[in-house]
Symmetry: C2
Subunit: 282 residues, 2 copies
Amino acid sequence: MAMADLSQLSINQATTRAQWTLREAAEGYARAGVPGIAVWRDKLAECGVGEAARILAGEGLTVTGLCRGGMFPAADPTGLRAAIDDNRHAVDEAVAIGAQCLVLVVGGLPAGSKDIAAAREMVRDGIGELLPHARAAVMPLAIEPLHPMYAADRACVNTLAQANDLCDALGEGLGIAVDVYHVWWDPDLEREIRRAGDAARDGHKRILAFHICDWLVPTTDLLLDRGMMGDGVIDLPKIRRWVEAAGYEGLHEVEIFSAENWWKRDPDEVVRVCIERHHSCC
Amino acid sequence: MAMADLSQLSINQATTRAQWTLREAAEGYARAGVPGIAVWRDKLAECGVGEAARILAGEGLTVTGLCRGGMFPAADPTGLRAAIDDNRHAVDEAVAIGAQCLVLVVGGLPAGSKDIAAAREMVRDGIGELLPHARAAVMPLAIEPLHPMYAADRACVNTLAQANDLCDALGEGLGIAVDVYHVWWDPDLEREIRRAGDAARDGHKRILAFHICDWLVPTTDLLLDRGMMGDGVIDLPKIRRWVEAAGYEGLHEVEIFSAENWWKRDPDEVVRVCIERHHSCC
């Protein structure tokens, strides 16, 4: 373990969400030598934004993202307005803690709707409305395409191609969070990662975050059964090569939702295994 | 219910697999006036192919498909050879019961593999090897793209675009089974259905089967929690219009895997609800 290079590692605090507060996570990751963290808004709210900013800076952590904005589709204009307002607030929080991006989980179908095309239009329009505030705050927005199994209830942007199309349409200040869990199966993955790399210009990169974990076989829960790197079937080194060939130079953020396994373990052990597996499997 | 038009309805016997044998399903569907059935090979083996053929013909049922061939990717040449042999046998069984097509669930990653591109090549090569036998037997092969959540363990063909590409590459005798559960989320769905329609020529249609059910929110199991039409978020009339605009004139096959709900009900009730919902929601 003395040989592991930790310089590219970040841990999304969802990975230890059942065990640790924001302060405990920041201290725990830093204690292990992990240089990056991604923060969740519910944990941020518990801690308070000002206190969180002090803790994160005090530990010297790079904040690879704030999770999450998004959830734009709404059943009525009031709902859409509330979503935009909440997203503006999320942008401000991301700025306050020095996050590298605000991750957008864009939202699924509004209650009662079966019109996924309309939901996708609401997402495009919602991001379009949010962008001026994000640009003024110099906070990049990172669309995270989610696996198609979340299309109904979490995100109707389900492929990198869709995310690239949105970035092309909406312009500067918008990019993509590539999470291997959501995109590993995509036959167009290599092409769309390359496309994202080719779209970078004027110092603005499109790939804003790179999230890692693994797809377990079998997967026993749609939401909370993600695997540790190396325990599943995702070819992590290959996807990493593609992302780096597309110009990505940021940290690799471990994000594991695992109700029955990693969330039940000693969090210091979880961090240790993240370090080991990032070194040996990624 | 006297008004429901049953002439386009088929029921895949997976919908009552926990309750009924092949004979019971054939009799039960026919008793309710349903003109079509799709058969599973394990149920066929229980019954015996000859006896099954007599039962199905005796009930006057249209057999909209035999489930299933496929599962091509293998860890070694012996496994691949066994898969091809088993698929040839499946073609012969499909012919024996007068099925309209043999449905192919193409298979996922071989044991120990993380190379989904290689698995996809094995699928292409395996179907290529099977096709001469299927053509000689005049048994169309229907590739069923499966939802990306099955990419690792059931099918590495996960979009209609991939299935259309395979059909373009491998030629006559090969088509597609469109199952709304697997493809409803796809941003390219309308385009790829149209493409499949445009590819039909010389009386050979590419869309060989149309499977219906619904996507429940929440979905509690990756495999066995499909919904009855109308209980979920899929816009069934829209997809049906697209498929029919692409020239599909076959039956609509209800296929519902539902361990905790429909498989626990009186199967005659299940059939009655299938009829009602096909009439009111599709």
